[in-house]
């Protein structure tokens, strides 16, 4: 778990030092992208269980996140605490449509649902419309951008697209969420870290062997 903490610190410090006004994406060279190289980083979920910690504005939650591919090609995400009490049960259909099967009444707020939906869309690499993808280059890093309803999702790789450095959910000017997915095994990352820029909200996931 110390690895996760290091990721938080790294991500937090990245966000802290971002300029306040000008766009961090300004001045990057924009070219057409062949984003197909990213597909190898898309989590190939059959069934995976993550030990999960959530820290949000001073509150701490922990539990287990089960992600499972269903026979109808949808993906289910169920988060419960260690003793079995469920926090939420979400679904992304094969077409990427988001559905809430259950959420704890205390968490049932539009802002919470929107934030979680967008975070999981970023991680599961939903809506990777390669036709509209664009590529920005900066400091030897390749930013593969995918326009969203508001802003863009970026998947940032090294220049050879062999390593996924980080993921960003961004407004037009700056990242609002930064994430890492590392140490892939059996098609899914072993370690995932998510950090939000606008408020104190981090999620850490560590794959469990059952």
């Amino acid at each position: 778990m110390s690895v996760l903490r290091m990721h938080y610190l790294l991500l937090s410090s990245c966000l802290f030092f971002l300029p306040g006004c000008s766009s961090v994406y300004r001045g990057m060279k924009k070219t057409d992208a062949d984003a197909s190289c990213l597909l190898k980083f898309k989590p190939a979920v059959r069934k995976v269980l993550y030990n999960t910690t959530v820290d949000v504005v001073g509150k701490h939650l922990s539990g287990l996140l089960l992600i499972k591919a269903m026979p109808d090609s949808s993906t289910r995400l169920v988060f419960s605490n260690e003793m079995g009490f469920k926090y939420f049960d979400f679904e992304f259909s094969a077409a990427g449509v988001f559905k809430v099967h259950y959420i704890l009444p205390q968490m049932d707020k539009k802002a919470v649902l929107t934030t979680l939906r967008k975070d999981f869309e970023l991680l599961l690499m939903q809506h990777l419309d390669t036709k509209n993808a664009f590529l920005l280059k900066k400091d030897g890093l390749f930013y593969y951008g995918f326009p969203q309803t508001k802003g863009n999702n970026y998947y940032i790789t090294d220049s050879t697209c062999r390593q996924l450095i980080r993921l960003e959910r961004a407004s037009r000017r700056k990242p609002v969420v930064m994430a890492v997915m590392q140490h892939y095994a059996d098609g899914t990352p072993d370690t995932i870290g998510i950090s939000h820029a606008n408020f104190n909200f981090t999620i850490g996931l560590k794959k469990l062997k059952q």
Partner: protein, 211 residues
């Protein structure tokens, strides 16, 4: 005619109850059961056991299994330490709950969290034999050759929204809890089986200390 209808209704009700839990029938005299349960619980000072927890997600046809060590000490002290496949510790000490996951420690006052207070009380009541007096539930008791099944149906809001009912399976031999089955309104359930039980062994108070 009215008597015949009444008799038919009663028979139908009894058949329904028996069909509800195969192998079980309603206890003949609940007062005798209560007396025997209370007497056995009176003698019980501590319980030490292993536990296996199964979380069944019905719509996903998926099961999450975890294991650990369970300790109970009279009165109102419970310690559940999950060891596989993750590390997690929960201590219930009267009205306080302490949890530790990984490095984070969290103290929760059940006085300020109604649902946690109800779950806490239900767990302690099930183990120390006072579940029948818990007013958060209506209670029905069934028996088979080897076990009693106490059906707890929540009446309190919060619990009622989440749980359909809770079953406590007691050994007929010593009235200790073999299994706790928590059925959710969603169709999911959590089953906790207690194995290798040792009763009235010495357990240090320090194991239930909340920092």
């Amino acid at each position: 005619m009215r008597n015949i209808l009444l008799a038919l209704c009663c028979c139908g009700y009894a058949v329904t109850l028996q069909a509800q839990y195969p192998g079980y029938k309603p206890v003949a005299d609940i007062n005798i059961f209560k007396t025997q349960f209370a007497a056995a619980a009176q003698k019980m000072q501590t319980i030490k056991a292993d536990f296996v927890q199964e979380k069944n997600l019905s719509l996903l046809s998926e099961k999450i299994t975890s294991k650990g060590k369970f300790l109970f000490k009279k009165d109102n002290l419970v310690r559940m330490e999950y060891t596989t496949p993750f590390q997690y510790l929960v201590i219930i000490n009267n009205n306080n709950v302490f949890v530790k996951d990984g490095q984070k420690e969290n103290r929760i006052s059940t006085k300020s969290n109604k649902l946690f207070q109800q779950i806490n009380r239900m767990m302690v009541d099930c183990v120390q034999g006072t579940a029948l007096a818990n007013t958060d539930f209506t209670v029905a008791v069934f028996e088979s050759a080897q076990a009693y099944l106490i059906e707890l149906s929540p009446v309190a809001k919060g619990m009622k929204d989440y749980f359909k009912n809770i079953h406590v399976i007691l050994s007929k031999k010593d009235y200790t809890v073999n299994k706790l089955e928590m059925y959710e309104q969603s169709g999911d359930n959590t089953l906790i089986s207690f194995l290798n039980k040792e009763m009235n062994v010495s357990i240090a108070d320090a194991l239930f200390t909340i920092k």
